[in-house]
Symmetry: C2
Subunit: 341 residues, 2 copies
DNA sequence: TTGTAGGCGTTATCAT
DNA sequence: ATGATAACGCCTACAA
């Protein structure tokens, strides 16, 4: 079966004996078109299965109704939750999402930015790769005055909104909680300190220590790649410390889980010997035994917020450039893994 | 700063004192263009930051270089793994992915199909919602002879490739393994039996039973929504059975995990009292204690395969319509949760 | 309220 | 090897 010819507004115009202009206007509910005419247009369009050609429209209007998203990793509960939130918002507004992942690589992020630019997305939502040392590759967007919103992994930039949580405070709360449970030798497992999220968490941790007159010890800072395996490796290091630390605060749940499993295997009990806390409230935090104390980080909300700001800007409802930083709420959830009593 | 005017092939042509046609050809490395001319074109394009206008090209060529993806749920380890695999393949081929989720709803899937169609994607990759009772909404694509590939949750259709694993055999292997461990009263937790994946798993389960002269009992079939909570609810039902079943085979890992946790809470030991097996090899299967026996279902490979077939078809390397079903390998992984000895 | 005309940037077709 | 021209389908001044 050969591909049928596409219906255009010209075809509709011919059949209705009116001009293409009127059809075009009728279709987008232009106020100055007769109601009866509109109805005839809509009815016929429906009947013959007309669909607007977005390329023609985009070509004419110089916009794509597509929003680009660059995330570090697609395979992550947090990421897919964020994207689900974005999808929900942009779909309602008639926009589409173009998604790509940097795999934490600076090089890939640069390439992704270029691809997004060449695809002429109307705006870009970005969570930065851990490797990225600068954000010059987004100058493509800044120079053309295209809206860019950072979320989660953000970087300061003039005229550019960032959506984040207060990582410092959240980490401060986790650490303070551990201290209140009587812990004094608290290890922090994190990754290379390039991104705000990890730097802020470290600072919150340090702040809680210092406020309780506990000296920060360099050896209690373990750097890995925040994978489950990194948690296991950290457990190995911890096991050989003397005296044994009495608590672990990992910068994400997966790492905390890897750590707990490895500690258990080594005969170290959680929380009796070592209390453990994570970050993110990943579903896995309620699977591990004991259940993991963590920070409830609402990815869905963050995705919705980032997308909504983009949409509002694109539709002229607001101007992204005026707002600089939006802090979403996050919350400490205490579970068995950190409760000494 | 005002938005700078976009460079077009006309601008390049003017500066080089050649025709736009030649520029267009040079840019796509057309064989009949002089090497020197090509070099001049490329150099200038690079210098002035020319970027091709995809809308103009799409408008002219009637194609988008975009492939649509409809999945049941974005928030799922399996799904994000599949999408990562697809992304890897299509990016290399210069295509983009347009992703949407049906949330297991028939209505939303119909809407998504329409949106994809209106976005004029070059092809569609689909994993069906559990609710969907038919696939008539994809006639939009079939009628226009647009390529459609089903993956994981498939449905038979003339001239349409499906990528799947042998769910029947996998379930048969799981069940046989449980029987070999000495289990005779094996519960199967699954969801409404609309989709091939669940029907086939049930059939594999039944087949293994019958081959071992174990009668299939209707009451051992527990239907839920395959969430963690559904696993917990199933555990409640199981707990009240007398005699107590000696094994559980859940149609996915999350449900198996929910079940194990609830059984533990009720003082029922796994695997001593009840052996448990899941399906998917979700990372959580290695977090739960005891580690979960499951089926290694490689989502990344499935994503790559589905995408590659689509690309091959679109680039004329092969014809999707000639291949009907591709079965990917899957494998039983036995772990502590099912080992009685 | 409706219509006319031109252009958005590219590429296919038909010349040269 | 290169060029002129038209067309893809839509939108928006401007005109009526």
């Amino acid at each position: 079966m050969a591909t049928k010819k596409e219906i255009t507004i010209y075809d509709l115009a011919d059949k209705l004996k009116i001009s293409p202009t009127t059809v075009s206007r009728g279709l987008k509910d232009h106020p100055s078109i007769n109601k009866a005419t509109k109805k005839r247009i809509f009815d016929l369009a429906e009947e013959v299965g007309y669909r607007t050609n977005h390329f023609a429209r985009n070509l004419r209007q110089q916009r794509t109704n597509t929003i680009g998203v660059i995330v570090p990793l697609l395979i992550s509960n947090f990421t897919s939750t964020v994207i689900a939130g974005m999808e929900n918002v942009v779909n309602k507004a008639g926009y589409n999402l173009l998604i790509s992942q940097s795999l934490e690589s600076y090089k890939k992020e640069v390439a992704n930015a270029k691809t997004m630019f060449d695809s002429r997305v109307d705006g870009l939502l970005v969570s930065l790769a851990n490797e990225s040392m600068n954000i010059d590759h987004f100058d493509l967007f800044f120079n053309k005055n295209l809206p860019l919103v950072f979320f989660d992994r953000v970087e300061e930039h003039k005229n550019c909104t960032s959506i984040m949580i207060d990582n410092r405070k959240a980490a401060y709360n986790v650490t303070t909680h551990l201290i209140k449970q009587g812990c004094k030798r608290i290890v922090h497992i994190t990754t290379i300190l390039n991104r705000n999220v990890y730097i802020d968490r470290l600072n919150g941790y340090k702040e809680a220590l210092s406020e309780n007159d506990i000296k920060f010890k360099e050896e209690y800072l373990i750097i890995g790649n925040l994978s489950q395996d990194a948690g296991a490796k950290a457990a190995e290091i911890i096991r050989q410390m003397s005296p044994l630390p009495d608590a672990v605060f990992a910068a994400n749940d997966i790492t905390a889980v890897g750590c707990i499993l490895a500690l258990n295997r080594a005969g170290i009990r959680v929380p009796e010997d070592i209390a453990v806390a994570g970050f993110n409230n990943d579903p896995v935090s309620r699977v591990i035994e004991p259940n993991l104390t963590t920070i409830d980080y609402r990815g869905y909300e963050m995705g919705e917020t980032a997308a909504q700001h983009m949409i509002n800007h694109l539709t002229g409802l607001s101007n992204i450039k005026t707002t600089h930083t939006i802090i979403l709420r996050s919350e400490l959830i205490t579970r068995a893994s950190s409760l000494k009593s």
